[in-house]
Symmetry: C2
DNA sequence: GTCTGTATTTGAACATGTTCAAAATATCGC
DNA sequence: GCGATATTTTGAACATGTTCAAATACAGAC
């Protein structure tokens, strides 16, 4: 019997097959887009039967999720490293956003597929689901570090929730970017620059004693939604 | 030849068939949910062939859209009327939200189907598409009136964009509500109450001369996104 | 090497949204 | 009423995501 931890040994051969399917799929997604690529295409290109694709991926979208996950993992160090060179909070957050988008960029067109399931936290593929929690926490960690080493003093109560809030902010930017059809996604750049300025200014203001009641209300609001 | 305006005469009989399909669908959606209801079910219940359903509705989701549209139309007067009794901006906006949710309530479960297409403004079913513009403008009109007759003085530059911003706010609340599994959607109620308070306070503050630069930045941000 | 159970692979079958050409029906000018 | 044209209706065909029972390959015990 397998332990509750499950998935003890994926055979090397199995791992290889999975990889082949995964890479065939990504290539096709890039070429023809997510919707245009059928699971049969993918299986054929990978040289396996249709069923095999489903043995390794619970659904078509799960392949995209795997990509997103891998991308996230591989970016971890490079993001932390890139951030190290900056002191200003604005720059630090910008670095996180830029790196993320840069890595997503070659596959921009099809990542949108994931957002279809987004609002339903029950769906395993939702960014809010418990299944995707590890990915989410990784991303939040980046943002926590960004604030930690930045030049803006944030009140303790807000600081605690800030990674989550910034993660939401990041998701919003990514969502906008995915559907941004302006050349070279210039609108996203503009949006990022402007919103970052606003964001950092608000964080600065949030420290003023005058702002305490407003901050409290806002945090209560977050608790109501986030719980 | 038909004029460019198209769709000159839907025969009474045709209108009847459409209605039968529409109503069969809604009933099934309510009973079994959107995903569980097949177009074949709907056609069967309406006593027509499968193809007929597609003659009248371009897609399964289009039926939901039709419902949303009808709901919106029928609510127009009742919303304006209900608002007339209130002077405080907070109450006026609350009335709009409450009425909307109240009307949506019997069909809460399946309205979520519409939000799958939401982010892609190209998709005719997206709330941001040009096809859904009339619905959107109706909703914005309610919110414009709400502000117009309220007790909060809003600077002109902000006022102009406010209906759109409030519409976004309304959409967010609806989205949250659709997926709110708490008993009687209490969390939505809490969210509405808290966020409304915050919102109105922010609008009050927005008038202070001190806030002008912040307001400007925020509005620029909106322009960047909304264009 | 053979046996046994597990992991992997297969491909047919299924469900369902959607399309479409053909059939049926209604409408209109005469 | 008749023929022509436009509208409505039909149901079969299609495409594709997904499931699943059966077949196959494999690893380890003996």
């Amino acid at each position: 019997m397998t332990t509750p931890a499950m998935k003890i040994r994926p055979t090397p051969r199995a791992e290889d097959t999975r990889r082949r399917i995964y890479e065939a799929a990504l290539e096709l997604f890039r070429e023809k887009g997510f919707e245009q690529t059928t699971m049969r295409d993918t299986a054929a290109k990978a040289g396996v039967a249709l069923g095999a694709a489903y043995y390794y991926f619970s659904a078509k979208e799960a392949i995209v999720l795997a990509f997103y996950q891998e991308m996230q993992e591989s970016s971890h160090d490079s993001i932390l490293h890139a951030m190290a060179g900056h002191k200003k909070l604005k720059d630090r957050i910008r670095v996180v956003l830029e790196k993320r988008l840069e890595l997503l960029a070659p596959n921009r067109k099809f990542c949108a597929a994931l957002f279809g399931h987004a609002p339903d936290a029950t769906d395993p593929l939702s960014p809010f689901s418990s299944e995707t929690r590890p990915i989410r926490e990784r991303a939040m960690e980046h943002l926590r570090v960004a604030v930690e080493g930045g030049d803006v003093k944030v009140p303790a109560d807000l600081k605690q929730r800030l990674p989550y809030l910034l993660w939401l902010y990041q998701m919003a930017i990514i969502l906008f970017w995915l559907y941004d059809r302006s050349p070279r996604q210039q609108r996203t750049q503009a949006l990022t620059e402007k919103s970052l300025g606003l964001l950092v200014n608000l964080l600065r203001l949030s420290g003023l004693p005058l702002m305490k009641p407003l901050r409290k209300t806002m945090l209560e609001l977050v608790e109501t939604v986030a719980l």
